[in-house]
């Protein structure tokens, strides 16, 4: 970043773009800032409640199941798989952006396809997790899990879990929809006619943001 600014370059002197990016991309960054504060407000309210509560359920006891493995005690394994899927789909998204830089239409189509698949895989994992927890008796206003010290837990645990992972899942879902639209536009040759693939970059920023939020959700709900 620093090497691109020489000493006598006046970024704010007019006549040049002071941020050196396209308008739409800058606005995507500002949208993501506002979204970061929305997620931040959710997560910090969760943190406030946890700080105000004497005991809380142990995530290693609550999130310890894996599909098809019955009652095997595998804490964190399934959610780590979900994390891996999301990181992987972020990688394919960067590769799609890279292919866009080279105006490689089939490359964009291929990597967007993998990214969409990753997003759908993540949503499927989340659907399984929610269903499993629902069958264990957890839902908004219902919490079957006891605190780590054996005392009765409040419903705050499940309320925050379902609200925040749900809000994140909704972001993943809308990201998948945006990526599908990008894929169709790429197939349609829209970007080729425009001469650039900057729309892929903007969709990519959103997708990486979803991955970024998951990193925090993962820490706050499954590790703390």
């Amino acid at each position: 970043m620093a090497q691109s600014i020489s000493a006598n370059q006046k970024w704010w002197g007019g006549g040049r773009s002071p941020f050196n990016v396209e308008y739409g991309k800058l606005m995507m960054w500002y949208f993501l800032m506002s979204d970061a504060f929305t997620f931040g407000a959710f997560l910090i309210s969760y943190g406030t409640i946890r700080f105000a509560t004497n005991a809380w359920p142990d995530p290693n006891q609550v999130f310890s199941s894996f599909p098809l493995l019955g009652h095997a005690h595998l804490p964190l394994v399934f959610v780590s798989l979900m994390t891996f899927i999301l990181i992987m789909s972020s990688v394919t998204m960067v590769l799609a952006v890279g292919a866009g830089h080279n105006n490689d239409r089939m490359g964009v189509v291929k990597w967007m396809g993998w990214t969409i698949l990753g997003g759908i895989a993540f949503l499927s994992c989340q659907a399984w997790e929610w269903t499993h927890l629902y069958h264990q008796g957890a839902w908004w206003g219902r919490n079957p899990f006891i605190n780590y010290d054996g005392t009765q837990s409040t419903t705050n645990f499940s309320n925050f879990f379902f609200t925040i992972t749900g809000f994140h899942g909704f972001h993943v879902f809308s990201g998948v929809i945006i990526n599908i639209i990008m894929l169709l536009m790429a197939l349609n040759g829209t970007f080729e006619r425009k001469g650039h693939y900057l729309m892929i970059e903007k969709a990519g920023l959103y997708w990486h943001f979803v991955d970024l939020v998951w990193v925090f959700v993962f820490t706050c709900f499954y590790l703390f």
Partner: protein, 146 residues
């Protein structure tokens, strides 16, 4: 006006953004491996190491998770979202407002902690006193309404 036009449009193509790409496949996979290794470390610590320690040491593991999380967030923002390769103006317009999170976290977690402290230390008799006091005006109000 003509100068503005020539500066605005090359950004759409390869022109001015070209030198800051940082989109080499090597760098992408390097970031991927860093993220994967950190996630695996979190998994190992969370699954095997932390449960064998008594619960009051949890705070130190949480500190470790915060460091891991911050590292992952840094690599996602700097490499995948490409902010590390943008010019300083853009980095600052994102990084400076994000500083609000420091106050946000500090103030609200402090508040939560204070609430727990008050709830654990408050004397039930004091609560009754407050309640009996607050009952009096309520009766007065009802009479007033009649």
């Amino acid at each position: 006006m003509a100068t503005i036009e020539t500066h605005e449009h090359p950004t759409h193509g390869e022109g001015t953004e070209g030198k800051g790409h940082g989109l080499s496949k090597k760098a992408i996979w390097r970031t991927f491996w860093i993220l994967l290794v950190i996630t695996c470390l979190e998994l190992i610590v969370g699954m095997f190491i932390a449960p064998s320690f008594p619960h009051h040491t949890k705070i130190w593991f949480n500190l470790l998770y915060i460091i891991f999380t911050a590292a992952k967030a840094f690599y996602i923002i700097a490499e995948f979202m490409h902010l590390g390769h943008e010019i300083k103006n853009l980095v600052m317009t994102i990084a400076v407002p994000a500083m609000l999170f420091l106050w946000f976290l500090g103030a609200f977690l402090w508040d939560g902690n204070s609430f727990k402290h008050l709830r654990n230390t408050i004397n039930p008799r004091d609560v009754q006193k407050v309640e009996s006091k607050s009952h009096a005006p309520a009766h007065g109000e009802q009479e007033h309404l009649k």
